[in-house]
Point group: C2
Chain length 151, copies 2
DNA sequence: GCCAGATCGTTCGTATACGAACGATCACCG
DNA sequence: CGGTGATCGTTCGTATACGAACGATCTGGC
């Protein structure tokens, strides 16, 4: 039975490799779904998850250099540069010179930024809830523990 | 004790929100690290993980329409369009007309594509191993189960 | 046989992501 | 003090990612 058209002597690891069995694929899928949920819930605020992350960090720290803000939110210098520029264009953040370092640029929230963030903050629980909806409480804790080890 | 400068009546959910506690953040970090590992191991092949995913699916299915290839690898029409175009430019895939549907474009591996994929396939185990290195065997299975539910 | 609606792939616009090279500045060491 | 190496932010080039609008084609129903 099961004639199986694949070569019988298939010792090539390639033969049994399936995209659907790979960690990277699972991570990507889950992250992609999370992003879609975020975008859906925040759509009328016109705020991406990276912009949100930057605003959250700014609210916590009041003022940080651009590169440090990138480091804290997991974006490299080139990436945070664009994210901050777009927030600045909408007057959600402002630039201040660093008196101690002429190279550095200090970023801070504007009141418009705080207001938008307050709004977003009220919905972020829904994003988490929808993202984790298929996952039980005990599993959520496992997930946290494992992903934190991996990051 | 603990004078805590924050408002004492702080019932605002915003006050306790920390980026580092969010699922989206963990997922992003883990995925980012995985991508860096992939890029490092495959660097001399000049192959991204999305290009790899496309080649893997093509090897499995021999020939698929472009949009279907995107669906199977988790890329939308606009994204797979660029990925396939870059593979075509390097002659790793070829285009064939679909005799049953003039709108459709069938994609298939070239021998160069197969050769490159064989090479990549020999290293992919290392990518998985490094990605999951901090995670024990039992946890790997938990991770798979949870992420699959979430995707 | 024809038309309305779905689907195929493209293109545009926008937003990450990140390596590399760059000029400006800083920090430290001798 | 002077120089060397590190760091700050920018810019360029490339690769995803995805919504939206588009022309071409297909499909089902009448």
């Amino acid at each position: 039975m099961k004639p199986d058209l694949r070569k019988l002597q298939g010792n090539d690891p390639a033969d049994s490799y399936r995209l659907e069995d790979q960690v990277g694929y699972w991570l990507r899928r889950a992250y992609q779904r999370h992003m879609a949920i975020f975008a859906g819930i925040m759509s009328d605020l016109d705020l991406t998850s990276m912009q949100f992350a930057a605003l959250v960090k700014l609210r916590e720290l009041k003022a940080v250099s651009q590169t440090e803000l990138g480091r804290l939110t997991g974006m490299d210098r080139a990436t945070i540069s664009g994210v901050v520029a777009r927030l600045k264009r909408r007057d959600l953040v402002l630039y201040k010179p660093d008196p101690l370092d002429k190279r550095s640029r200090i970023i801070a929230l504007t009141s418009a930024g705080e207001a938008l963030l307050t709004d977003a903050m009220q919905r972020i629980g829904g994003v988490t809830e929808q993202t984790l909806e298929p996952v039980g409480a005990a599993e959520r804790e496992s997930l946290r523990a494992i992903l934190q080890k991996m990051g």
